[in-house]
């Protein structure tokens, strides 16, 4: 099975609501990163949280990391139509390669 599995696979909410996406992984990590991909475009780095950190904020984004449960969550507050995209978590262990999950497709309805 894959590391960095996201939950849910798809999420549809109203503009202004908060969106929460979860990610689980299987091995010990150096850090965990969240990326966004708008349709047909490249991956945009959102936030990096190190293994010794529990929570991190960046604008409307809040990421938590629970290494005991091998899980992370991404919260987007006050969602906007422009937040519609696919969101991926990715982990880095010993090597520098990112291990991605299948992503969560987020749709913000006006």
């Amino acid at each position: 099975s894959q590391q960095g599995e996201e939950d849910p696979q798809a999420l549809s909410i109203q503009e202004g609501e908060n969106a929460t996406m979860n990610c689980s992984y299987k091995t010990s990590i150096n850090n965990l990163q969240w990326y966004r991909q708008n349709s047909g475009r490249g991956l945009v780095h959102l936030i990096l949280i190190r293994s010794n950190e529990r929570e991190k904020h960046s604008g409307r984004l809040r990421v938590t990391l629970d290494t005991s449960k091998k899980s992370s969550s991404l919260l987007i507050t006050a969602s906007r139509a422009a937040d519609t995209a696919s969101y991926f978590c990715a982990t880095i262990s010993g090597a520098q390669k990112l291990v991605f999950g299948q992503g969560t497709r987020l749709t913000i309805n006006p």
Partner: protein
Amino acid sequence: EAGVTQFPSHSVIEKGQTVTLRCDPISGHDNLYWYRRVMGKEIKFLLHFVKESKQDESGMPNNRFLAERTGGTYSTLKVQPAELEDSGVYFCASSLSGPSYEQYFGPGTRLTVT
């Protein structure tokens, strides 16, 4: 500062043909990575260069794929001969050294093999 660029943005080739993808990393980034996303599946690591050397090529699917980074600047990924299952989006990323540095991704090359 220019980001990671990839060329072409889209390529359509027939099975058995050869295709070469190019990636220009951010200037000063010694680390260059190739990833790909096959339809409906997760983004998977292919290989990692540090300057001109292959640091990790554990994700390369088979010997039909050849990656180079002559001079430690841009990189090419050649698929020869292409098969139908090679269709997907090929991403390139670059970073400074160390696992704590974020990897900056290019827009990807969409490869369609017919």
